[in-house]
Symmetry: C2
Subunit: 544 residues, 2 copies
């Protein structure tokens, strides 16, 4: 028997309508590319979204078409998010930090028909445009009459494009399963894979992350997403923000300490969100200038593990509560947030920081399990490490065009590619990537833990641990290190350094000293390249 | 084009699984009927829910069957909520405060097959059971071997019933539109009407009310719902609570000041939820004893308008933030919550309390409009008052068995039966009930505002204003008053008292003095009865 409640499709259109109708005066404050500040309230933003939808329809954008953006966080990018999704098309956010050949691949794979871009990226777009036959229109996100100096076929100016359009648009009644946006993950193996979000997944994600334990979004908040809108929808903040009527403070292209601190002070920012490197840079600037974070209450950090010292400094010296989390584009992106439980509130600070430094516990909406090589679920004892799998209403069930089907299990879970342990309180601790873990005699060795020990040696600048084929054990670890400037690494000394720090059988079988390690476009260690380089390496322990 | 995210049905089963898996140690603390305290954690509660589902299946409960409860807030009632809904049956909460003939009607209208009841209600159930032919099993919510002294056919004991059952239950994969619970509204006109909630509506409601501006639920919260579980699902707290892993503190039948204050202190309650009368009684007790509310951060009040003095006292003397709201069973029940916006934070306290005393602004998920007699939408100017209509994913789209179809508009809105104004900031202010408003010459007169003026007259104890048919104006107001003990009401003096306080044409045409006014079972003024009594009354102003 069905209930008798209204259905009420969970669409991004309902967020836009709620924002315009109940928070018309709430603001979006943006740093323009020329450094000036731009302000607009939700009511005016909504009218411009209607104009943009009319303009895109005039350009021939149809339901399901992919409309790409290559832009920083700013009001026009928010307008594009809503106009494209609410008209039933798909907003495809391109990451300008990718290699040019990856961007070339992605636009063709997505078959984008329109590209809206910040003038910062004009030269990049000009270079790639000839390789993008599906893109019919290029739109520069610039002031009226201020086209960028670049040579693009049929280049349009955003403000000129929308100027004459009607402020009304009859949004279609969309099924909540309709695709709303597309974002490619920049994996370290193979081609980027597209995650095709739907309206329902984005709305449920925004509702859940707004909760008291998580982002705790309130209308009176001033929220500064440093995390870019081309990076997993800025962790959902453009949706959760408008849903709750907050002031959104958009930093544009200036993600440096001085720019952020000026915005924080001027706009009395209460919530920050971004990756650890941004906050380390901000803390350096604050220390150098004696600046404060008086208005800031919470700081969300993700994308990489937050150093414990950063959590401690923010709390003890700046009175800012750090919400450390873990997610993936495939998770919309929030999976876990490391918020201490009731009985941990009175723990000694050191012990509590250790908990906050973990990846965290899942929000309602995310379920997780860790499994061994045979797919058997492992216990939540904080020690057993296995392949991390996730499911829930905002988790990808497949990649665009059916790429990489092996990432999805037959019983409905997404294979994250991470190796993790979960403790009795439900806190997740990532230990490795599945493809990087070293499988020695049927047991797993965490490459990350080996690397962490290695970089704590005084002579080591950077380290990578990879698996080398071994005739007896299947795989054994090889440690590859870059010495510190002026220092020399002694193999025997370095291997002896591991004694007592890891299990005896985890100690690498050999050490290779190199001048530098390969990295990806986004700065991650590129282990695939390293494995190729050492493909024919024979370990001294291998009798064959 | 559809997105490629997992669907993930939004069912109450997913809340239960999340609670058991990620918050096994969180507690439900209950006041037993014998006054003692009972504690159970989510893991053990979950196992008992599985046992109860097995027991109910053994009793023959099938998907869609209605299983009724007549119980206070306590752990066994929570078990019933989850077991019944997650097995695909419908948990029908009965309100013991209704008149016996209403309870008789409701159980037969719902065709309940099983009734679980607290022993407090044994005599009531014994009396009504002969009139309930569909109820096949009566289950007393009592300790093993402690049956209540009553004469019921096939009376079962809850603990004996579940004792031998398995701790595993294979929950069915439910469509999220499946009905999960049923609650009848006790209107002042006609028979009670059934609201049939579904899993989806309850989950979305629980997600939304958990948000930072609203209940702001965090795992470390200790939540005391004084609002009964038979009253619109205790405002969704049994769902939102387990979703967030909070400690739930269940007061049982003792809703008096001493009991509540003892629980608040012992369990370090951070969030309270209940109707104004409960808090007024609690404040009286605190004043008399010098008690404090040190652990309490937030107090949610709804069900009736909260007096401004109560909001002020709680904030200024007890440092408790009041979240005042408005809702209806048909809204699951939360519609609006009166949380000041950013620019109101620094307002003088008096002005801010006035805002907090309004019914509030809608959460994401609720849309509202006010319309005039012709169905035209009225402006949000704080003055124009019209019929309040609501829509959204947790709003009823119809009543059980199709009762009262006139409550639902052709274009998809629910007619609340309230008359309201909405201001430019989106704050709702209820001015009357649609059926009580006086329609004079095409304009509306608020009966409530007339009554508010009348009771501020020193000689008036209680007042009711009703419409009397008028040959020229259609309707004109008649004021019916009960004088204070020992006081005399002079008609001309009382009418003169209105001068300058309301528009001249709002002043009643006559005053009738009575000894008492009729009330409903839940204590509301019963204007229908009053209108019947004065049906043939002729106003002195009516020439005909």
């Amino acid at each position: 028997m069905h209930g008798l409640m209204m259905h009420g499709e969970l669409t991004i259109t309902t967020i836009l309508r709620h924002a315009m109708r109940w928070h018309p005066g709430s603001e979006i404050v943006s740093r323009r590319t020329d450094g000036a500040i731009h302000r607009i309230n939700y009511a005016d933003l909504g009218r411009r979204i209607h104009k943009l939808a009319n303009a895109l329809a005039r350009l021939g954008v149809k339901p399901g078409d992919r409309v790409a953006t290559l832009a920083w966080n700013g009001w026009r990018h928010v307008e594009a998010y809503y106009a494209v999704s609410c008209m039933g098309a798909v907003c495809h956010t391109l990451n300008p930090r990718l290699f040019a050949d990856q961007l070339g691949y992605i636009v063709n794979h997505a078959e984008d028909t329109v590209l809206l871009f910040d003038v910062t990226f004009a030269k990049l777009v000009e270079k790639l445009a000839p390789s993008w036959p599906t893109v019919r229109h290029y739109v520069a996100l610039a002031d009226a009459g201020a086209p960028p100096a670049c040579d693009l076929p049929g280049l349009l100016n955003y403000e000129d494009l929308i100027a004459g359009e009607s402020e009304d648009f009859a949004w279609p009644d969309l099924d909540e399963r309709t695709a709303c946006s597309l974002c490619y993950t920049s994996g370290t193996t193979g081609n980027p894979k597209g995650v095709l979000f739907d309206h329902r997944s984005q709305v449920i994600h925004a509702l859940s992350v707004s909760g008291g334990d998580w982002l705790c979004l309130r209308q009176r908040d001033s929220v500064l997403p440093v995390v870019p809108m081309f990076h997993a929808c800025a962790w959902g903040l453009p949706y959760a923000g408008l849903m709750n009527g907050v002031k959104l403070v958009m930093p544009g292209h200036g993600l440096d300490g001085p720019n952020l601190c000026e915005l924080i002070d001027a706009e009395k920012v209460t919530l920050l969100a971004g990756v650890p490197t941004v906050w380390l840079e901000m803390l350096r600037h604050l220390k150098a200038t004696g600046g404060r974070l008086d208005s800031v209450e919470r700081l969300m950090v993700g994308g990489a593990a937050a150093p414990r010292s950063m959590i401690q400094t923010l709390e003890e010296e700046y009175d800012v509560r750090v919400v450390h989390g873990w997610g993936m584009t495939e998770l919309s992106p929030v999976g876990t947030l490391s918020v201490p439980k009731a009985h941990m509130q009175d723990w000694p600070a050191e012990k509590r920081y250790a908990v906050q430094g973990l990846q965290g516990r899942p929000l309602y909406g995310v379920d997780m399990r860790i499994v061994d090589a045979d797919g058997r679920e492992l216990p939540h004892d904080g020690t057993a490490a296995g392949a991390l799998q996730v499911r829930g209403p905002w988790v990808a069930g497949g990649y665009y065009r059916g790429d990489n089907p092996e990432s999805f299990t037959a019983d409905g879970w997404f294979n994250t590619g991470d190796v993790a342990a979960i403790d009795a309180e439900g806190f997740l601790r990532l230990t490795d990537r599945t493809k990087d873990v070293i499988k020695s005699g049927g047991e797993w060795i965490s490459s990350i833990e080996i690397e962490n020990v290695a970089v704590s040696h005084p002579a080591v600048q950077e380290a990578a641990c990879i698996a080398i084929t071994h005739s007896k054990w299947g795989e054994r670890p090889l440690l590859v290190v870059v010495p510190k400037a002026g220092a020399a690494v002694d193999k025997a000394d370095l291997l002896a350094f591991f004694e007592g720090k890891v299990a005896k059988w985890w100690i690498p079988d050999d050490v290779a000293v190199v001048e530098e390690l390969p990295h990806t476009a986004t700065g991650k260690l590129y282990k695939l390249g390293l494995r190729e380089r050492f493909r024919d390496f024979v370990l001294p322990t291998d009798a064959n």
